[in-house]
Symmetry: D3
Subunit: 330 residues, 6 copies
């Protein structure tokens, strides 16, 4: 596999077998193929990257189990999206596997994540990376990897989150409450290029709001998002960002969901976002030319109720790719 | 019980005892009486039929446990509906028991279901049958039984469902993904008399959409249903159908619900229907003169969370009967 | 603690330790302090009272476990409310502990509840009491205690509930289905000063509706509440009451929530209130000058799913206090 | 039903229907018949009494749900005991229903329990009463009822329990930690006629051990019981008691079980009794002529894991009746 | 794959990937390889066959999910058995996949099972088949397939089970309560060549015991098994059988386990077998020359508690193969 | 608190309040007091240390939640052990709190653990440390800390474990599969001074057994332990060790338990140790003069079933302290 320069990755533990016969009825688990020696990444549209790290979480989390949980749930979804008459099967999608994890050295794992994104951007810059966390600390490393590969690009962040994620990495290290501040303080992004949508009262300390204001971060609470309509809020953020940056990175912290709609997101809150709102948001992001990568983080499948959140996360990925497919066709 | 020609049925396993004293505070479990030798079905308004079959499911399902689960949950409901100032206790409702199940011969069980509906229509054509599944394969058998009893009637289907249920019975037999196609291909109904409301992206293969279009099936996704308002979507479907058919059969696949609102519907999806929308839909159907039977299917109570879905199903039945009660009074 | 005249109370079983260092990032568990010998209740704005009684429930309930469950969940909340830019830490809040419970004499426990409220009103009339039940029978005792302390006040009730709570205390004793009727029949309140919002069909017997109408109780079902908008319904009730009474007592029966949003409220129903609606309602109540006490009842944490309901209850308390904080600042 | 003098009882809520055809394959739910107007209790061998009271528990308990849970689980058991080649179907067994419960007056409920036992002993002294609790407070009332009916009898207690149940009823009222002391202090039994088997370290305060010693109560811990063998320990207790008393009352507190074998017994402990040991113990008791009544208490089915404990409780009842059947045949 | 004559089979849905590097630390999921085109079954010692059928169950069961559940759990086990210093990795083991299932025609599926065993015996008679059910009806089909392939062999059954499985297939069809009777009445085996170990009181109707006695079936209850010691009971059965038959087929119904040790076996009972006893039993069987096939049935993983039963089933398979490995080495 | 030199520790998050009145009926939560400024550690017999680290686990684990879970469960236990007539209340026990955790630097946390033990041994060498993990990596750090404080002591390990814990720290870092090898390779202990009891087949790679043999580690599988009797196996290990070392460190990996007896020990196995055996083992260790410290590790309370494992862990600690109490009295 000359085209496969990813020493930072492990293969997925289990691989879906493909049905022998050709079949109109393609499920997502049959559509997304594991990377093989023979895979030519130049023909690939979408690369799925598992990032099973949650040792960097402030609270104990099994978000590390999420990539495997999402892969297992692919089987419940068709590639065809009746709502939009779009068939994702027209995209080539590959599962690259998981970023290698060191058992006791989180710093090393963070390095692996950065290098995985960087390597992919250097060698196969045409694919759309979709990263499945892991906790939110991985976003800092993935965006840093992108920046390393494209040092001249200005990067904007479209963040769907209950939290600011502006806690101090000097105190905690690059933990899951810190990625946006980490990126700002390391000069990867500017505060004014962050748009955070879905924040919630009682889940952000006041000093983080002060930090956000001082650094020009754009934000809107869930309550106000719902009043304005999720669609128009997202559209406005995308339009503003597209005038200021080269690349928009979409990061979806599953705890933006209402605790009832995302029981496996450990910090989801009552009064949060509903899945129908989330799907509309990410599909709009997927349609936008400047949105070039996305991740889904902070989903601990051990807390799930009947796969509700894992299925919501897969649907989120597929809704985003529906937008991407429409973008490509447009 | 000369008026009880149902060799296809077993009595319910457990029977609610009635409180000795007369009481204003009647619960649904005291209102719906088991059929006895002395029951004169000519005085009955509503007949409840359990259809505990889920061996015909494509995926493993315990929807066979649903009739008993719903009966157990009757105790949590009053007959009086404060929202509409309607008391269901003014209707006579009888629990006929369950269609006999063969342990290893699904075909025989399907025959029993068809004959149970047929017998009821022949001998007591004045009652409103409410069937509690079981998986969706039973709808094909129940509607076929109705057609056998009323061969000259044109029958329309009002379907609340995440899926088309148009998979090929020639391949799977009359399984739970096939009932609508089974009815069309057996000449029981015409495609154009099917109105399917609540379909969802990523849960229907493209070839089923093509089949639906080829056969003139009417459908609208949940996303578009919500935009238009469930009430107006249902009203329009009822009005259209009432000009074309003699009888409208309402079938509620519980997986039309959002996965959060119907955790026990194995194929419920994120972004689906909320219970308040479902209740509005079925009450409107209940009010309509042409709606003459209904069923509730694909609820596996072993997957439930705190009886949420089972209670939603009972409420669905009661909301439909509230409409029926208003129809009778009007 | 000369200022601590509460022989009816026990200390909370477990007490949160306060972090040594001052910290901008104050969590609710660090903000609400346990009462100590040195606490001067004259400086306190809010008093939290646990009322761990559910032996008085008609159905078996572990709502007695709720005060401890809510205390444990305080840790998940910041005092800062980003939605309103209000920091609850500017209020002094004290946890008084729990009303003493007799193992086998419910009447004695009810007496203790009444006396606890009465004592607090006599000795520290300036604090806002927030009582955490327990089942709904406690509301009768708390309001009675208030009336004992302020015999000349007219008291109104703003009730968020799926039920009327008008069952007959002569039959059941002062159980959890009876508090409003108990208060009316004991001359503590008048029926016309009760505003009940969120009632649901199929969960109230017809004779209770007749009683409500006979006594001039104001009520609106959840279905109609949603049509009108929860905000305007609450505002109207508050305005009407404020012209008629001196004190408005807010009682939140958690079963007003949809069964999906409040799985631990044993009598919550499908089609009920969403948490976002509940938070809006109680914040508006908190802002109103005449609202002088509140309680949260009928939450059985043993039925909870991932702390969803307990967190909703804590959020309800905090949303109410957000309104109270705005009232004080205004 | 002239022979049915039980105003203290309610019928069971739900009644098992009997299969039409005669059948060798009789399940326990078909064997135990509900009491009807036509039942002649003079032909009955065993009377089952539900006692759904757990408001008298020191810790919150839903043991009140146990009688219904055990009735529902009868369906999983045959009447035929292959181990002993005994068919319980040769005994006539009747389910009398449940002792009436007052919602808020525990004392009244306790009176009802006492009177139910007393009435049964007066009118139908030939049946073997098997009472299904409820918490352990009911044992005091049941034994007191027996004593009222047979004031001249000396009564011994064979208790299988993790606890002494010697806490002070003067402090707690007749709660679930107090029944043995209640009976001693009310002169119903003597301490020396109590044999408590299965006590556990760390679950009994030292002062209770002192009380036990002072009153001559016989006891042996689980650890020592296992060393000696449960069979010989039980045999010895029965032999000793049979020389001293007229009637031996067997009370089984399900928390005698290991926490793994009785997950629904709230106070079960690690290192406790295994079900096979419990079944051996109660069968031996059932065989003994002087054992004339038994109860099963402190099983909260809401804490159960897959019906493990409820099934163990039903098996306990059936093992006891196997012994009783052998006694009758002998 | 010229050597792969199994049109009745589907590949496993998901396949474990093998770590790139050679490694002493081999897990069972890496040891058992999926069958590939290149697999030469002549070099294979053990063939694993999934039989995901539970539509033939009398009670609703999801035992059809067991083959996938066991495959997923392989990852938790090493091939090295420290207890015996045996490394299973010295055996070649192949996962053949699953017998094809018809959605609505149970008879067809039963045929497929019979043919799968028959084909394997004809083409690769040297491998040891280990079949993972599915419900107990599959045993009848598997043994029938063996008999078809080896019509002159006398086959004995070593059955570990709570039940006789002698219910009448004429009444139920070849359902999961009937396999032993089915085999006797179809002339595949003789009753006297059946040894059933672990039967339990209250779970077998008396008429089945009579049938067993009439047909000379050998059986011993769990209670008596434990008294005699599981090892000696098994040894005696094996010795007796080895004098009478050519092939001993071992069938393990997981409901032989105590309900606490096998929570996912729907019919497991309190007072049943412990896993340590089961492992000893099957290892002894594995060591015996005449034991030539085995199956594990009636495990519904949806009822499991933390994978306890699924892990017990995998361990059962591995303990059996430990015996087989010792046999081969001996 | 001049006598409190522990900058590495945080106070427990929540502290049990002590009942006002003196009471014979002391529960463990009232007996173990939190450390305060005024605590004189010179009067203390037992120091409890929380070590909430599980980021060092090979598999994702929430064992970090165990110290708080065990503290919460103290409330269910009396200090009086009826089995031995020993009252632990005669010992002074203090809860020191938790070793400080760094969010992203596991090495720093490991340093804190080592220093915490070292500091305690230097300043208060007379107390018996009982450490509550956390995963098994902490044992390496705790024993290293002991060695740092007592460089001349020979230390032996009495290990109750399903695993060798001899994986290579050079590969994984000091993770939870490596502590014994870490201690050997860092010269803290010698292999021949390790006695590992309870090892299980299929859960240890062969190369680890070879390593164990090469380094003279003493071990015995659970199967053989049960044959010999846990008591005699432990006694023999203690006697052997006491001739060779100065200090015996007892480490209890909860996965030594049978998966049914320790559902919250992620690697517990079917066929493992029962709690009664574990309690006997640790009590014997507690009685031995040379046993000077113990820890309990690898308990993930999020996997627990009804607190079964957490209660077993508390009982393990109390059984050990019962032995210690007997040793002191002897």
């Amino acid at each position: 596999m000359s085209g496969y320069p990813y020493p930072q990755l492990d293969r997925p533990q289990r691989v879906w077998t493909k049905k022998a016969e050709a079949n109109e009825d393609v499920k997502v688990n049959e559509w997304i193929r594991p990377v093989e020696q023979s895979t030519d990444l130049n023909d690939v549209d979408v690369t799925i990257l598992g990032v099973p790290l949650s040792k960097s979480s402030i609270s104990t989390s099994a978000a590390s189990e999420n990539p495997e949980a999402m892969r297992a749930a692919w089987k419940s979804f068709q590639t065809y999206n009746l709502d939009e008459d779009v068939d994702l099967a027209s995209l080539q999608a590959v599962d690259l596997g998981d970023v290698k994890q060191h058992v006791t050295d989180i710093h090393q794992t963070h390095e692996n994540i950065t290098q995985a994104m960087e390597a992919m951007r250097v060698h196969h810059p045409h694919t759309l990376p979709v990263s499945l966390g892991g906790d939110h600390s991985i976003t800092a490393m993935l965006v840093k990897g992108w920046k390393n590969a494209h040092p001249d690009e200005r990067i904007g962040i479209l963040q769907l989150d209950t939290h600011f994620d502006l806690r101090d990495p000097n105190e905690l290290g690059p933990a899951n409450g810190t990625p946006i501040r980490f990126l700002i303080e390391n000069g990867v992004i500017e505060g004014k290029h962050v748009h955070n949508i879905g924040l919630h009262g009682f889940f952000n300390a006041k000093d983080l709001k002060i930090y956000a204001d001082q650094h020009g971060i754009n934000y809107i609470t869930m309550k106000n998002t719902r009043k304005a309509g999720i669609g128009s809020v997202i559209q406005e953020a995308l339009e503003t960002l597209s005038k200021q940056v080269d690349t928009i990175y979409l990061t979806v912290d599953m705890d933006v969901l209402d605790i009832v709609h995302g029981p496996a997101a450990p910090a989801a809150t009552p009064g949060g976002m509903y899945t129908e709102e989330l799907f509309e948001a990410v599909q709009l992001a997927g349609e936008h030319q400047r949105v070039k990568a996305m991740d889904i983080v902070c989903l601990d499948p051990r807390k799930d109720v009947g796969e509700q959140t894992v299925k919501a996360a897969v649907h989120t990925m597929l809704s985003f790719l529906t937008g991407y497919s429409k973008r490509k066709e447009a």
